[in-house]
Symmetry: C2
């Protein structure tokens, strides 16, 4: 399970306030509000590129591990295989990734980025960087690193795995059978 973009439902923000004590004085309250806002901001920033945060995440994983199979993606994305099908379908229909049959075991797909997919991914990454800068403009430059440090510490306290390199993070939690590619 990779940490990730919070789901910011477009139609209507499902937000609920704690309203006790001073909300502006609660780390939990502020984090959940801001987390939602950050998620939504990212989603909006990414929209012009034609990607959802989830598609972006999937493409990043494929980029890091070309030839990865759908089943493996299941873990870091934290979604069941049945849902992956649709997401991969969308990206394939857009010509951003392709499914190649693995000749050695024809049950597996090997996912690859197309040239167009790589270009789109690069554009999306630039957009993500720009969004990060825009989001952080209210901060003093000197404020940024300490903030990140505090957030990292809180994340560790919540057992949130931070980096998690795709597919490779926990290669053999149960170690069943031959590792699919």
């Amino acid at each position: 399970m990779i940490p990730g973009m919070n789901k910011a439902r477009r139609p209507q923000a499902p937000r609920v306030g704690s309203a006790e004590g001073p909300p502006g004085g609660s780390v939990v309250f502020l984090l959940s509000s801001l987390g939602f806002a950050a998620s939504r901001a990212f989603q909006d920033a990414l929209a012009p590129v034609g990607l959802t945060p989830r598609q972006f995440a999937l493409m990043n994983l494929v980029a890091t591990s070309e030839g990865i199979s759908q089943g493996v993606l299941t873990q870091p994305l934290g979604i069941p295989a049945s849902r992956l099908v649709g997401i991969v379908d969308e990206l394939e229909n857009k010509g951003l990734i392709e499914r190649r049959r693995n000749p050695e075991d024809r049950r597996y797909y090997a996912l690859h980025l197309t040239a167009k997919g790589r270009a789109t991914l690069n554009r999306a990454r630039r957009v993500a960087r720009d969004n990060e800068e825009r989001f952080c403009t209210p901060l003093e430059p000197s404020e940024r690193e300490p903030l990140l440090e505090s957030l990292r510490r809180l994340a560790a306290g919540q057992q949130l795995p931070l980096g998690v390199h795709p597919a490779l993070a926990s290669p053999d939690e149960d170690d069943h059978g031959p590792a699919p590619m």
Copy 2:
């Protein structure tokens, strides 16, 4: 629209990673991950009291404005009136709040906390405070205030209203007709 608890869907966390650059170095990425975790932690902490974050929020609003009507709650909670019905139903069935007809205009309900409701709310508030402390244990004491300050600044940049006193925050955005109680 009040800032609020992020929706942490129980069945399965809908999380998606950005996975570009170092996620542990992105404020946006960390915030959305942590926001989700914070939201979930709060939800879990509140569960033993028998309240969802949304119910808790509603009760806090009623506590601050006894006799408030359902329609007014719509704004700070950011949900349509039709959904409010169910939430109020639940709380009423549990005997935590009651609907009284407003004799002056029998279209309105006047919502009030019951004695049991007040007791439950107090318990929930204690739980929220405890949860806040637990969540923040990874932080050095000296780290906490600067973190809050940075978060507040980011929230302001995202136009997130912080305190928002229930029902009273934006009493007349359009000013249509007599203000319901």
